[in-house]
């Protein structure tokens, strides 16, 4: 099992229903894409949040990454839509 801190922002947060959760991902989860596949099955809200993968941006330990980025125990993995600040 891999313990991960998962964060959600903006409409990812409202769809999942929480802004942060600590998860125990199975060892088969090796990268962010695998994590998304697994998270999707946790609830209908998760499924809705991850339905449009192309609209999801990713940060691991607060740096932008692509879906093929590996995940390791203790990582903070954040999911959110494209940013709209300024």
């Amino acid at each position: 099992m891999t313990t991960l801190q998962v964060r959600y922002f903006a409409w990812m947060r409202t769809r999942v229903g929480t802004g942060a959760e600590s998860v125990e991902a199975p060892d088969t989860v090796r990268d962010v894409a695998g994590l998304m596949d697994w998270l999707e099955g946790r609830s209908p809200g998760h499924a809705k949040a991850f339905a449009r993968r192309e609209a999801v941006r990713i940060a691991v330990n607060q740096d932008y990454v692509e879906a093929d980025h590996p995940v390791a125990k203790g990582d903070e993995v954040a999911f959110f839509p494209p940013v709209t600040g300024g």
Binding site: A59, T84, G85, G86
Partner: protein, 152 residues
Amino acid sequence: MAVRVQREDFDPGQEMAALGEGRHDIGAVASFTGLVREEKGAGRISAMTLEHYPGMTERKLEEIEAEAHRRWPLEASVIVHRYGRLEPGERIVFVATASSHRKAALESCAFLIDWLKTKAPFWKLEEGAGGEQWVDAREADDEAAARWAEDA
């Protein structure tokens, strides 16, 4: 170099004055202030709430600011970005850059705001007559940021 992410309002005049205080090598200060705009017509907004990613926001803004200092000969700079609920007319963001000459100050100020819009983790939730809606990212903002690509 300074980055501040805060709920409170700020005073652009004070921010600019602070940049040049006690310095005699600064010949130019350029600044940009972003305000909450009320859209004309049916979809007009009554307010917006800015959400951000505490920690990553400051980190990204510091990286963007460092990049501006790498590209232009800047003497000083400041970025202030607000979060929370804001009403039309309120200030959201402030960027100012100081240099010996105007070209570096003006260009780096435009660079900072263009890059910040596409890289700093902020999201706008608009409140309007039809309820709440998350603002979509704009292609025009990506294009504005892309014009600063070094290898293009």
